[in-house]
């Protein structure tokens, strides 16, 4: 197959922007000592619209959370997700904080080896992220200013196998990587005309991981899905950039990322309707460690509970446009992976979205919108109203078939 150079450049661009997605954050929260950022949802665009993903079976859409369900895919498929998140924050004194970020937040390529039986796939997805600038006075006429940005991502290589017609498993190797940048400078009051002191710390993360996923369909219209990522130990290479030779000496630390558990169910009373429930859980309080020491008591048990409904497009080939769309709605509630003001941070909201076919039954654009509230001024240092809007684009094609024969 002759490859157009434009595709290569565009692929590089998409990959680069996906990498750049690790340097993103969208909240006042997530900044704490030894933080790797807030946990990012591992849902596709459709999953974010309906608030469940782990047990969402689809013969076209790539599941971003439960790779075992890829074994339902019959054609090579691609998917990429673009995300824009904005948060309007309040700390009780200042009422108009605004944070926003836009990024490419992952993508997958899945290739069936044996149709609806054995599927190989790979992809890239952000795991955590943060971005914030914080400042404080530390001395007469001296203010510390720190810009923190970055997060973790992972590349997955997964093989999914449908053991039985109603039971499948997925086993994946994951390479965790990422970078968090701390840019520090001392600001002086304008009267002093002093030159700011600057230094930079870069934490580069890398390490191997594993993911196991499964689904089971006890009934034709009922799916149970589960995903498990065991505790993963990765390396953090710490490198300072400063005028001090001593400070610039590279250091290596071991980081233990908590195990991740995802569980979901979905039920489809008809071909066009589905309800689903999703739960994700990670114990950052007890399992996030640095050099085998707990990272801090300000980390929390993370969970996210989602419930949603989906109305799928008509299967009729010729129908009105509104019947060609998928409609989704959901609710979600959860707790972030770290405290604020000594208390857990709750997050809840509503989600909705729709899928617009570009070529029916082959490819579609999935639009999603989340609106919610994060934190509470009675408990936390901030509260935010956030929106999360974006799209994922999914397509499936037939490869390896010579139509000219």
């Amino acid at each position: 197959m002759k490859i157009n150079k434009k595709y290569i450049w565009l692929s590089i661009l998409v990959f680069t922007l996906s990498w750049e997605s690790t340097f993103a954050g969208q909240s006042l929260f997530g900044i704490s000592n030894k933080s790797l950022g807030l946990v990012r949802s591992s849902f596709s665009g459709t999953g974010l619209a309906r608030s469940f993903e782990t047990a969402a079976g689809d013969t076209l859409q790539i599941n971003y959370s439960n790779y075992a369900l890829w074994s339902d895919l019959s054609r090579p498929s691609y998917s990429v997700k673009i995300n824009y998140a904005a948060a309007f924050g309040d700390d009780g004194v200042t009422h108009n904080y605004f944070n926003d970020i836009a990024d490419f937040s992952g993508g997958y390529l899945v290739i069936p080896i044996m149709k609806r039986k054995l599927v190989l796939g790979m992809g890239l997805q952000p795991v955590t992220s943060m971005e914030q600038r914080i400042a404080d006075s530390v001395h007469t006429n001296v203010k510390e200013d720190l810009l923190i940005r970055g997060g973790l991502s992972r590349v997955s290589l997964n093989i999914s196998y449908k053991v039985l017609s109603n039971f499948g498993i997925g086993l994946g190797y994951e390479y965790n990587f990422g970078k968090i940048l701390n840019q520090f400078h001392l600001d002086y009051s304008s009267a002093t005309e002093m030159i700011p002191l600057k230094f930079k710390y870069e934490y580069r993360f890398y390490g191997n991981g594993l993911v196991v996923s499964t689904f089971y369909k006890p009934f034709r219209n009922f799916i149970v899905g589960a995903v498990y990522r065991p505790v993963t130990t990765i390396n953090a290479r710490i490198q300072a950039e400063s005028s001090s030779a001593e400070v610039n000496k590279s250091q290596l630390k071991k980081i233990s990322l908590p195990a991740q558990y995802s569980f979901g169910i979905s039920y489809s009373p008809t071909d066009r309707f589905a309800f689903g429930l999703d739960l994700q859980y990670q114990d950052w309080q007890n399992e996030y460690k640095i050099n085998d020491q707990l990272a801090g008591d300000h980390f929390q048990k993370y969970y996210r509970l989602g419930f949603g409904v989906e109305r799928r497009q008509s299967k009729k080939l010729f129908t009105k446009f509104t019947e060609e769309l998928d409609y989704r709605f959901g609710l979600f509630y959860g707790r972030l992976n770290q405290n604020s003001n000594g208390n857990p941070i709750k997050e809840y909201g509503v989600s909705c979205g729709l899928s617009v076919p570009i070529q029916r039954f082959r490819s579609h654009v999935d639009l999603f919108l989340n609106i919610g509230r994060r934190g509470d001024l009675d408990q936390n240092a901030y509260q935010e109203t956030f929106i999360n809007v974006g799209l994922s684009i999914s397509a499936s094609e037939i490869w390896f078939v010579n139509y000219e024969d």
Binding site: L17, D100, I134, M194, L197, Y201, K253, I358
Partner: protein
């Protein structure tokens, strides 16, 4: 869409026009938004910014050893002034030689030397007399470094001239035409002139502008009339060499000895006087520090030597108020033997400029303090350089005489650094 086309092609090339434009717009918007800067927020409770990496430290070190070194043989090759006169035991005279004199086949007449006055140092009273001699041996512009010229007794007096000491205008002296003609006939006999004070008025040292100034119109200049086609025309030249010879021959108490006995420091020019300071605390600064800046501060005592009266009459108001700090790469414990770190000769990063501001000598600006901190203190912490002490000098210590008293008990080295206690993760 063809069978083998991919998603990328699908998105960017085969979509209907509006959707394609929309996606491209979204892409550009995302890139633009992603580049937005952030306004800072207060550090939350869970983020201890003050101790996240370490501590900002603003500390002051004090010297355990202070002294000063005297160099009576400064190289005045680049001196901007030619000084002549005596003042409180200081004496100055200068050598001046013009080259490229008119050829001997042209008759010359009425040669004169013009010197433009810069200023004067001292407390001028009465008259000042100077003598102009013909020099009878070769010399170079570094003559002040040679003992010979500090005991030189010229023989051929060409003239003696007396001025009001308060006079600060341009001075013109006639020069014996026969002498100039001799130089023209035999260039090797042209050793120039030596101009020295006559007797000891003792109240003033006159400062003329030398050949080292930027403006040639103020140079010492030899005027003469040259016969050209039976007509004398005025001509001049200002090409040559010069060197001031400074001496200190106190008739009473030596001010430097006096200051040393008082425990004072002295910084001087003409006769170079260089304070030497050692700060033991420098060696115990934490290695894991990032230095923001450092400032060396010394209080200037504006009191006279010996009499201790208000106003230091040895402090030349015409002198630049700029000074340099040099790092000592080696030194013994009492700073009597030392070696200057010569890095300043190759990079301005190692040249630290001080200025007298509000009664103190201190680094000229915040930029200088940063440079001093980074290149001396930080390099010391990094093990790239040794710092066995500091050496101070006038920025221009060869043009004219000037001596300041410095309060040795006031000396302090302020250092601002960030001590990195942990890497933040």
């Amino acid at each position: 869409m063809t069978k083998k086309s991919g998603l990328i092609k699908f998105i960017f090339f085969n979509m209907k026009g509006n959707m394609k434009k929309l996606l491209l717009f979204l892409l550009l918007a995302i890139l633009w938004i992603s580049c937005q800067d952030l306004n800072s927020i207060q550090a939350p409770k869970e983020f201890d910014l003050k101790n996240h990496f370490g501590q900002y430290v603003d500390t002051t070190l004090y010297p355990d050893k202070v002294t000063f070194q005297i160099n009576e043989r400064e190289n005045t090759i680049n001196g901007l002034d030619l000084c002549v006169g005596t003042y409180k035991g200081f004496r100055a005279g200068f050598l001046l030689k013009f080259v490229a004199l008119p050829s001997i086949d042209k008759e010359i007449d009425s040669v004169s030397l013009r010197l433009k006055s810069f200023s004067q140092f001292g407390q001028p009273t009465g008259m000042q007399t100077i003598e102009v001699y013909e020099v009878d041996q070769p010399w170079k512009e570094d003559a002040n470094t040679e003992d010979t010229w500090h005991t030189y007794q010229p023989q051929n007096l060409l003239g003696t001239y007396t001025f009001e000491t308060t006079d600060t205008l341009t001075f013109t002296f006639p020069i014996d035409t026969a002498v100039v003609n001799r130089w023209r006939r035999e260039d090797s006999l042209n050793y120039g002139l030596y101009i020295q004070p006559a007797g000891d008025n003792g109240s003033v040292i006159r400062e003329f502008l030398s050949l080292e100034n930027n403006d040639p119109t103020v140079f010492p200049r030899l005027f003469f009339k040259v016969k050209n086609d039976s007509v004398f025309v005025k001509d001049s030249l200002a090409l040559g060499n010069d060197a001031t010879i400074f001496d200190y021959m106190p008739q009473g108490e030596n001010i430097f000895d006096w200051a040393k006995n008082q425990g004072d420091l002295v910084i001087g020019s003409g006769i170079g006087v260089h304070p030497l300071l050692h700060f033991p605390g420098l060696d115990s600064l934490p290695k894991n520090s990032i230095v923001q800046g450092a400032n060396l501060i010394l209080r200037v005592k504006d009191q006279n030597f010996i009499t201790n009266e208000e106003k230091n009459t040895y402090d030349n108001a015409n002198s630049s108020d700029l000074f340099y700090i040099r790092n000592l790469s080696e030194a013994n414990t009492d700073l009597t033997v030392f070696k200057l770190d010569s890095s300043f000769t190759t990079s301005s990063n190692f040249n630290y400029q001080m200025q007298q501001q509000e009664g103190n000598l201190q680094l000229l600006s915040e930029a200088e303090q940063t440079k001093f901190g980074e290149n001396v203190v930080q390099n010391l912490l990094n093990g790239n350089k040794k710092s066995k002490g500091f050496y101070l000098r006038y920025e221009d210590e060869v043009s004219r005489l000037s001596f300041k008293r410095l309060d040795a008990s006031s000396i302090k080295l302020n250092i601002r650094y960030f001590r990195m206690d942990n890497p933040g993760l």
